[in-house]
């Protein structure tokens, strides 16, 4: 029960951010929170394979990159239709995910981590080599995606588009996790060998989960390009893949809402620590320069003390009280 209330409160707060920002005359808050929504969406996608499937993919930033580059490349050719952006992003993303997944999922454990990382790095260097599209320096995007009915030019429209997408994916995943497909996926996490002996062709289920998970990250990438009006190879750097994992673990692996909490927690903390002004010059300087170290400390604390993550502990408390998560 508590976990549901907590999740609902977070969502209501997120829904109110543009109103608050307008009232306080702080448009920057909308930008920051859009960023949180985008990464929450990506972490949510990753959590499908990482949390529910037990597959540690260290290359999901690649799919954010595919989404972002689809927008950037099409826009540089004067194609501003959001539907075209979306179709290209999802189409290419699905093809890449099918091919990469079909290869990577034949391995497991450490090999899977390494091979997903390797594919992401390949795509990263492919993007670096695209001189026509900015190469290493990246590619500014002149016009944002235009969906006819609405355009993502307005930051508030972009914000609510991301928000509605997040809600939709949360709801779809909620259904999926309890349906047959989710049962197979969670079974594979615990004991794939047994799943085979029971009669499940596990590879094809894991592959479909991997593709769905990748496509959610592609969506996040499309939004990210619209938010920053810029795309660069750094969007799919391995550190971004790592951040997505950290967000998922921080929020609570294998909980539906955990990645949202994790993404919000990590990005807010980054923002807070890098611009904190306590009024003590030497302390401020120390904090603002070494905030990454503090975040590292925070993550270590959460993992050691809470183990199941910020949201995971709330879910566990509910379970102990006999409720359903």
């Amino acid at each position: 029960m508590a976990s549901r209330v907590f999740a609902a409160l977070v969502l209501v707060a997120l829904a109110a951010v543009p109103l608050l920002a307008a009232a306080l005359d702080q448009p920057f808050y909308v930008t920051l929170t859009t960023r949180i929504l985008v990464f929450a969406l990506a972490a949510l996608g990753l959590n499908l394979v990482l949390g529910f499937g037990g597959l540690v993919s260290f290359g999901h930033a690649m799919y954010m990159g595919i989404g972002a580059y689809a927008v950037g490349i099409l826009a540089s050719h004067g194609v501003t239709s959001g539907w075209a952006h979306l179709a290209a992003a999802l189409g290419v993303g699905a093809l890449v995910a099918l091919a990469v997944g079909a290869i990577c999922l034949r391995t497991s454990g450490m090999a899977f981590i390494m091979i997903t990382l390797a594919f992401a790095q390949m795509l990263y260097f492919l993007a670096v080599s695209l001189r026509d599209y900015g190469g290493d320096d990246g590619l500014p995007i002149q016009a944002r995606s235009d969906f006819g009915l609405f355009t993502l030019d307005d930051p508030v429209v972009l914000y609510y588009t991301a928000f509605v997408l997040l809600l939709a994916v949360l709801f779809l995943f909620k259904r999926l996790i309890d349906a047959r497909f989710g049962m197979v996926l969670r079974g594979c996490r615990t004991n794939e060998r047994r799943m085979g002996a029971l009669g499940f062709p596990t590879l094809r289920y894991k592959l479909v989960a991997y593709v769905i998970s990748a496509l959610v990250c592609v969506l996040a990438g499309v939004l990210l390009a619209n938010l920053t009006r810029f795309v660069a190879p750094s969007y799919m750097a391995w550190t971004v893949s790592g951040e997505l994992i950290v967000m998922t673990v921080l929020g609570g692996l294998g909980t539906l809402f955990g990645p949202v909490v994790g993404a919000a927690g990590l990005l807010l903390l980054e923002e807070l620590l890098s611009s904190l002004k306590l009024g003590v010059p030497w302390l401020d300087q120390l904090l603002n320069q070494h905030w990454l170290g503090l975040i590292g400390l925070f993550i270590v604390l959460v993992v050691l003390v809470l183990k199941r993550g910020l949201y995971g502990v709330v879910v566990d408390r509910d379970r102990r009280r006999g409720g359903q998560a």
Binding site: R175, G196, L198
Partner: protein
Amino acid sequence: MNPARLQVSGLVKRFGGLLATDHLDIAIEPGEIHAVIGPNGAGKTTLIHQLGGELRPDEGRIQLDGQDIVALPPWRRSLAGLGRSYQITSVFPDFTVLQNVMLAVQAHAGHSFRFWKPALAERELTEPAQAALRQTGLADRAQVPVAALAHGERRQLEIAMTLATGPRLLLLDEPMAGMSHAESERVVEMLRALKGRYTVLLVEHDMDAVFALADRITVLVYGRAIACGTPEEIRGHDAVRAAYLGTQEESV
């Protein structure tokens, strides 16, 4: 003549220079409980893994009702009617007892690319699962999370899951492993109740259970079948006494 339910012929498995399975022939008739016994290192586990499909034999054939299954991966063998339980309990601790058995039913009830309807709302899954739980005496534990089950109950669940796949041949790998005397007696009773309705290949260390249940017994020593017969025949078999039972009686 009808083919045997399970026909193993000329099965060979080598690990380097070691012959773990040495030109083994076994035939199991429909409805019988066929036990495979043998001292440690006799190749019982290797045999089970080859039957289940987790190990590829180097030579030989495995036929289920006349169908050659030796090239099939484990999941296809399961769909062909081979249900196995594991020596090390392999249940899903995150799920309830009912969900565990439902998962076994689900594997044999069409594809699982269903993303919308909660599995717990599918009567096509819950009803056969409940039935399998009744058969194994776990019906009143259906809603309990597996993590809260005692060891013996987990072993029962292990068997319930295998039964729920509706197998033509049950492959039971040491179902009484690590059980107390009372618990293993309960499992013997349960298997006795299944007798005649299922064809069973039973690998077991508990000799009381084997002699109480089996119609026929194959004795493995160093990967070879040194004897095969009814419990009485095996009890009186000189080579078996020397290789196996004799040493055990002395140690008692």
